[in-house]
Symmetry: D2
Subunit: 364 residues, 4 copies
């Protein structure tokens, strides 16, 4: 276990041409495990149930992740108290606990710790730049004090961008909201833009592990299946092999994931890039890349699937003949500052909900 | 924490009319987390990575499970050494470790421990009744010594049934291989048969968390998607509500799951049966049944989904327009004792695999 | 052109082991051409637009049909005046015109004329046996006078069956309502029943040209797509090849079609059974069986489809990613004699329709 | 019956703001009726089976078409003799017969006759401009002599465009190859271009009656389903209502169809635009717009479908659970002049076919 300071930092790794495998999305994975509430999506589990968060970090490390993102998504105080949520931990406590957990597990391997900064309700509610900045700075204070290796800022408007400039302008990329295919395409466009401007950068992609060919420009939150009917869209490990290859071919070298990613998805990325990285992850001890582990199966027709071309060609059925293959996204056409987007401390009232239910019914 | 002996045993619970919520499948869940190898599917993680197994037990307990099944699927010595697998733990060590973990977590709540007995390659290979029985007895020895509360025998022929009679003939049901709809239908038929014979029993169902309307009589192993392309078939929590209700209406009172079940699936069962059980699971603290937690979401059109009828009516899209909704199962038509089914200690050779690949290609 | 009397009759043909190719459904084909009204589905076009009916007969003859069914479906006076329909032709005029057209075209080849008898609203409305019989006898009078070669009775209850006994008990089969797969399976069951009873018969199938795997016991009328959204279910000519082969293998020798069949569907049946029948239909002059005509296509990748295995393996896409592959049939659970099924001379009133619209909305 | 000269010509109609309803595709409709051979797709039926062509013209007229296109698609001598086809009629005879049939039926109503000019194999084979022009001029000679009301040129390169300029530059639009959605979108782009250039024009769309969201830039010929597996893609009459409305809203006033259109599709266009055109077509006597005719149906749950919103909301199922909803088009990447595209008089040889079959297999 190397002290944090002695690890090669992220830019050095990327400058040296290394492929950096990211980790997956904690919010969705821990929701399924019972530690995050869908709706507020806040990360109090870092303080409340550290053993669950630690275990998930370990699984990603074992799957090949070179980076442990702190589980600090939506950990700003305004978000923690939004719409009637009452928690027994402060934002500071959660952010500190999350940093400690990420560092603890990162040091069990050779991984780096990345502080994760995300959108705040204050922004959507149209608060001033000052107010929004103040919220971010509070969170970043913890990251600085806890000595994280670098920051990943999740989503932000043009003003916020400036204040981040010094920290992370060297890596640009896409996080969440769209499937790998869309993300890789978008990063390609960013790369073209950067190169046209005569600049240089490293590229990152952290897409969803859900197929979203039918998403509009706002991403998967608008899909009618979000968040409790997304199962049929989950990517297979074979889809992940394809993603890793396409991202690599597009010049992306920080390849990770976001919502929907489970440890086996990250492992598939690491396995696809075995030659480029010169190693397999620890978790591959319990896996045969591209199905080869099936040669140990009891039934002969399953052993017959122990080969790459079988899985590459498979078009997996949904077992859902009454369901379509694509959806029409909701799109109420409201943007930052619109009354519908105003956040509030108190819980959504019954009347407010009824109004929303009506609005939704008319839209369909 | 009550000593095991003071808990109400399984039959007393069922006789009293209680609904018993089972747990989910460890093999698939731990494969995705990186601790089980698809192919051999053996449970050495109980001894190798106890923290991962313990965490999964805790998540099921938190989701509402009243039973912790020991993670002892395929833990017979002949299976552990099948087709070239080499492990550093004996079957006895694994079985003992699994019993200890299940007991430890069961006692963190009011859950019972069930010893899990499963099929052995010796049976498929056509070994004698004596040989097969010997393998089972070795495993059951551990269960007796470790004082499990009851046994669940996973799959067995008519002869084996007799030796189990004293232990568990009072609960009959279905485990694995098919989706909830099929399982509930089948248990209904069993119930009719039992009642026609003037007998009484309790009923159990532990189906897959995969939709399998297209399965033949051998179940999901024959589906071309098994085991690495099953994602689009994963049941949603809404599907689970429906399953819990239908199982309950069919008179089933031991309602659990098998492969594909994640903790949130079990939580959905417990939430659907809140009124019948008189309680919600601990994990519901991080969940609003039927989507109600979404009333805390930032975006108004997602808050508009915070209601039961939205999720009941949703037909979730797969995001996979190039994939069909149903598959044709493989079915080579071989049964117990057939040469193709003979197991072996040594790894499947390249020549053996090539022969299987050819056979599979011709079949399509 | 042989006088009708000199042609080999239907039973002689079947007794001699010949395969008899039927024709297709006039009601649906002529509705698409603009001569039949969906809803009443009555055949006044035989008198009103004889050129259109004659042309369709010719196309079926050219496609290989050995039988011209008179276009007399629903040509009873009570049906012609049902629910507000006003027509300028009587049932007798329509029946006579239809017989003349069928005979005219039949004699352009070696085809036989079959009188088509169908269900009457009087039956559904619960009229007495006498009343229902009287309606049938009126229609049969025309057939006898016009000297049709044999009768096909479309659907009827047990009482009516007796009065038909002398005429057509020698051929039993299935008409309309289900797809070929279901029809062939059902005729197989009928055949087993007949043979178990020590009887002999010839077998007929005249299924839909629509895929209906999701139909309940009442057939395609209950599908939500009936009748204006059935397009995605239309069988391809390749599906027809399969149907012809399976019907033949099941011992069916009168192989035809019903609603949805277009001339090219009948041609496909005749082409599949070329060897068994010893001839190709005239229409095959404009067709290459199994796609072979594509060897004359301009584009090379279309010429590459000029082979049987290409079309046998093709799983045709719907181009409809927002649509499911299966539907839930409507089923109001009403049967003969129920108030909802009462027929009436006058048009359905606005109030009656509103009540139905409400009932339908609640059911979904 | 007005003499041709006294009818209002096409530009006068469009200049006056009238909506002109076109007709549908003869090639596909007559192939299904048994008079056109898929592969060469030539229109010899105009001379060989005039009664079949006349009947189809009448059905389109009855459905509301204001234009009868001469059935002269691919009626050039080089195409008639391409790839081993031997016909007993010359191009001139076919073109003349087609003009006579179109004029005969057009004069039964108030329709105009449009001469149809299409691509010639000479163009694909890379013949000189002179050679290609000579072929076109031969066909246009007949049109001039037969006094057609205007010409529609189906597809052509930039050189040919010039020679057409005087004849039809006043109407621009899209024919065949793509579905209505794509065509309307494309015409919108053309309109923007024309208007940006400060020009004026009338706009036409004659799309396929097949859904082709998955088509590449070459259109439906490249889809693996072309031409014998397109059934699941056929548009419903409700899809046609939508097309008519969108085309109208886009400023298109010549609204017709191409391959796949049957008379009932054209009738749906005319019914959607009843208010704009001030009339319903004759064929609507046998139709109730938007399903209203179903108020006469025997079964109450079908009467409950006699309303617009039922059909507007319906997502029709395919009944094909083993099929996907989208396909990957073939695309060999060859263009005009490439060896693979060379046409020949003699039939495609077995060796040539084998080479194509191999090429196709490797591509998948």
């Amino acid at each position: 276990m190397a002290p944090a300071g002695e690890k090669k930092n992220i830019l050095k790794r990327l400058d040296a041409g290394e492929v950096v495998i990211g980790d997956g999305g904690f919010v969705f994975a821990l929701e399924k495990r019972g530690y995050v509430k869908a709706g507020p999506w806040t990360p109090e589990a870092a303080a409340e149930h550290p053993e669950a968060v630690r275990q998930l970090h370990r699984e990603f490390l074992r799957a090949g992740s070179n980076v442990m993102q702190t589980f600090t998504f939506y950990a700003s105080d305004d978000k923690l108290e939004n719409r009637g949520q009452t928690l027994s931990f402060t934002g500071r406590q959660i952010n500190e606990a999350a940093c400690d957990l990420a560092r603890e597990v990162a040091n069990e391997g050779d991984a780096l710790v990345a502080g994760g900064v995300s959108q705040t309700p204050a922004y959507l509610s149209g608060k001033t730049e000052e107010e929004v900045k103040a919220i971010f700075i509070k969170q970043i204070d913890v990251f600085v004090q806890k000595n994280v290796d670098f920051l990943i800022a999740e989503w932000y408007g043009p003003d916020i961008l400036n204040s981040m400039h010094a920290v992370c302008a060297d890596i640009v990329g896409i996080n969440c909201h769209f499937d790998p295919e869309t993300c890789v395409k978008t990063v390609k466009l960013m790369k073209e833009g950067v190169e046209k401007a005569g600049l240089k950068a490293h590229y990152m992609s952290q897409p969803l592990a859900f197929h979203t060919p039918d998403c509009g420009c706002q991403g998967f939150i608008d899909l009618p299946e979000f968040p409790f009917g997304l199962e049929p869209r989950i990517l297979t490990r074979m889809d992940m092999h394809k993603y890793a290859r396409e991202a690599y071919n597009a010049g992306i070298r920080y390849i990770g994931g976001c919502c929907g990613f489970e440890p086996y998805h990250i492992r598939a990325l690491a396995e696809e890039l075995e030659a480029e990285r010169g190693c397999l992850p620890a978790g591959s001890e319990k896996h045969g890349s591209w199905g080869s582990g099936l040669s140990l199966h009891t039934k002969p027709w399953v052993r017959a699937r122990a080969r790459r071309d079988y899985w590459e060609k498979l078009k997996p059925a949904s077992g859902r003949p009454f369901c379509p293959s694509m959806s029409t996204p909701d799109s109420w056409g409201v943007t930052k500052g619109h009354a519908d987007l105003m956040q509030q401390k108190e819980a959504t009232s019954k009347e407010q909900l009824e109004a929303l239910f009506d609005k939704a019914s008319q839209g369909h």
